[in-house]
């Protein structure tokens, strides 16, 4: 039991803090919107990092799973928006239904992730990348052709239920899950697959199952991120989930350092805020909307250039595979290993006589 309490500790801290933030930012809608964009990007980056960074598979179709979650969650909320859970006050009832639609959206996305994960059993590296890209595109085309999802126009009228609190609670969940997977024997199995699949398999790691699982977990959270996104945009259009969106997330995790959760977070925050920041600064200084518009246009080629330059100069990204808590003053101290009676005889210094 004590274990479970400890397991829930991060939430015990996060819930009051987020609630307080929610109250404090009530009068700053711009700030809230910004924080939601950042939050969604963090969820996307941290979840993609589980596949690309920890497991070493290369998926570039993350936006497809986000789309699944956004549409499924959005439709569900639209359908249930008329209803409420009778014994709950309306606000609470809405949030419960919202949470439900997030989970269902995530679950459907996870199902898709399972399907996409299957090719990873036979394909590696660049081929796998192209297949994930293909799946992402297929999902988009399917959505565009589905009446239920509003075809090319998209889904409008999704109830605006995402709050700073709910969005960032999802962020906390994904980070905690990513960290716990990473630190567990499962995380080590994923890292082993990244390092050397054949050796991992030979050491008893069921590489097939682990690869598929990492896809499932990552796409679940991408789906949830899509749901969160849908419930603050209110309009879900296919154009939000193109190849470009997938690449944005890839840039984040590559810049942060493939395999580093904190790296992904830092890069996601930075790469989301930088253009927003530039835009508002430009807007404030020049009062010229056209110039601020340019920021959005320049962002994309810069992302491309950033990838190229990073690979040439610092392929390990910002953090490499390390985490914030592995560095400098945060560094964890490792307990010294217990002395053993065997160690002395095994040390090179005390070699026994050579048998000849």
């Amino acid at each position: 039991m004590g274990g479970v309490i400890r397991g829930l500790l991060p939430f015990a801290v996060a819930v009051p803090v987020l609630a307080a933030l929610q109250v404090l930012t009530a009068d700053a809608p711009f700030l809230v919107i910004l924080s939601l964009t950042v939050g969604v990007n963090i969820v996307l980056a941290v979840s993609l990092n589980i596949v690309n960074g920890m497991t070493g598979q290369f998926s570039i179709g993350h936006a497809g799973f986000m789309a699944v979650g956004a549409y499924v969650g959005g439709v569900l909320s639209k359908v249930t928006s008329e209803y409420g859970i009778s014994f709950l006050p309306e606000v609470v009832s809405d949030q419960v239904l919202f949470a439900l639609s997030l989970v269902v959206g995530g679950a459907v996305a996870a199902l898709f992730g399972f399907v996409v994960g299957l090719p990873s059993l036979r394909l590696k590296g660049d081929y796998l990348a192209i297949v994930t890209l293909g799946f992402g595109e297929i999902i988009r085309v399917v959505v565009q052709n589905t009446e239920l999802f509003g075809k090319a126009l998209g889904l409008s009228g999704v109830p605006a239920r995402t709050t700073l609190f709910s969005c960032w609670l999802v962020v906390v969940v994904v980070v905690v899950v990513a960290k716990r997977i990473h630190d567990s024997s499962h995380g080590r199995a994923l890292l082993a697959i990244r390092e050397d699949e054949i050796a991992a398999e030979a050491m008893g790691v069921n590489t097939t199952a682990y690869k598929v699982r990492s896809f499932v977990v990552a796409s679940f959270f991408a789906g949830v991120a899509g749901g969160v996104f849908a419930h603050y945009q209110s309009i879900v259009a296919p154009s939000s989930f193109t190849y470009v969106k997938s690449m944005e997330v890839v840039v984040m995790i590559v810049a942060g350092g493939l395999g580093s959760t904190t790296g992904a977070i830092v890069a996601a925050v930075f790469l989301t805020l930088l253009p927003e920041g530039l835009r508002s600064v430009l807007l404030a200084v020049t009062g010229d909307g056209a110039l601020a518009q340019k920021v959005e246009q320049i962002r994309m080629p810069l992302y491309g250039l950033l990838l190229v330059v990073l690979m040439l100069l610092r392929p390990q990204g910002l953090f490499g595979t390390r985490e914030l808590w592995d560095m400098g003053p945060f560094r964890k101290k490792r307990a010294p290993s217990p002395p053993s009676p065997l160690s002395s005889s095994a040390s090179p210094g005390a070699a026994p006589e050579v048998v000849r």
Partner: protein
């Protein structure tokens, strides 16, 4: 019946265009084992160079035989130069690094090219970057109907694209299998370290292969643009991906495979569009790819290579 025949014809014509782009993918993959994601974007740049030079010449000059040839040559030369620069500065430093590094670089390069061209910029009255607005390619070849059999219509553009594509493919096949340079290419492709031991200047062979592939892409791009397609910066991504799909279907690294794969893809797409599913076109192309990769990952002609343990 004639309906079917028309679709076959259109499909093949579209397929030959994919084939030219796919050949570039396959050549580069052959020598470097790298999927050059930026290949389609190099093609796009080629189309813009062609567009600009045709505009500059004016309608009369550019539609003369000499003019058209010049448009092609100019754009192919520019793309060859671009291909050289990309290889020299983005890919060569990463040649012995993990494959993923080069792949990410290629994706970045693709992004950089396609989205820079969406910006608008000019320098001293000269347009440097065109902006996102789609444009119609100058009518350097006027559409004519050359042949009507029953209901089947064959246009001059279709014939030209098929003939040019086949000629270039033949030339490439000759180059790879009948010349000294082609032999060096195949040697580098098999094992670039050992190729060096034969005295083959590996860097130069790879650079030339890139230039050749890029030039082919430019030619393909103009043929594509001439056929009533609008020119816009993201065209390279779409066509490039399709061509890549075709190359993989045929067995990447395999020259005739790329051609066969492209023709298959052209036909499949044409039938999907022709029979009312135009909005599903892209999904079908990728579905086709995934099916091939799952059931025959090495493509139609490719060979399985097992990893040594």
């Amino acid at each position: 019946m004639s309906d079917l025949l028309q679709h076959v014809l259109n499909g093949l014509a579209a397929g030959t265009i994919y084939a030219l782009v796919a050949l570039g993918y396959t050549m580069v993959y052959g020598v470097l084992k790298l999927i050059n994601f930026a290949h389609g974007d190099v093609m796009m740049v080629g189309v813009y160079v062609g567009y600009a030079s045709a505009k500059q010449m004016g309608r009369d000059t550019s539609s003369s035989f000499l003019g058209v040839t010049l448009v092609f040559l100019l754009s192919m030369a520019m793309c060859a130069a671009l291909g050289f620069l990309i290889e020299r500065f983005a890919y060569r430093p990463l040649r012995d690094k993990p494959k993923l590094t080069a792949l990410i670089t290629a994706i970045g390069m693709s992004f950089f090219l396609s989205y820079s061209f969406q910006l608008e910029a000019s320098l001293g009255g000269l347009t440097v970057l065109p902006g996102a607005a789609p444009r119609a390619f100058p009518d350097v070849i006027t559409s004519q109907v050359w042949l009507i059999i029953g209901d089947v219509v064959v246009s001059n553009k279709q014939v030209i694209s098929v003939v040019v594509a086949l000629a270039l493919m033949g030339g490439l096949q000759f180059l790879v299998f009948r010349t000294r340079f082609g032999m060096a290419m195949r040697a580098v492709s098999f094992d670039h370290r050992t190729a060096g031991l034969m005295g083959i200047p590996v860097d130069r062979v790879i650079a030339l292969t890139f230039m050749l592939g890029s030039a082919l892409a430019a030619g393909a791009g103009i043929l594509y643009a001439i056929k009533d397609t609008l020119v816009q910066p993201l065209m390279g991504v779409t066509v490039g991906l399709k061509a890549f799909v075709a190359a993989v279907i045929g067995g990447i690294g395999h020259v005739p495979g790329a051609v066969v794969g492209s023709l298959c893809l052209g036909l499949v797409e044409e039938f999907v569009v022709g029979y009312g599913g135009s909005t599903w076109r892209d999904a079908v192309a990728f579905g086709f790819l995934i099916a091939v990769l799952l059931f025959r990952p090495e493509g139609i002609f490719g060979r399985v290579t097992a990893e040594k343990v």
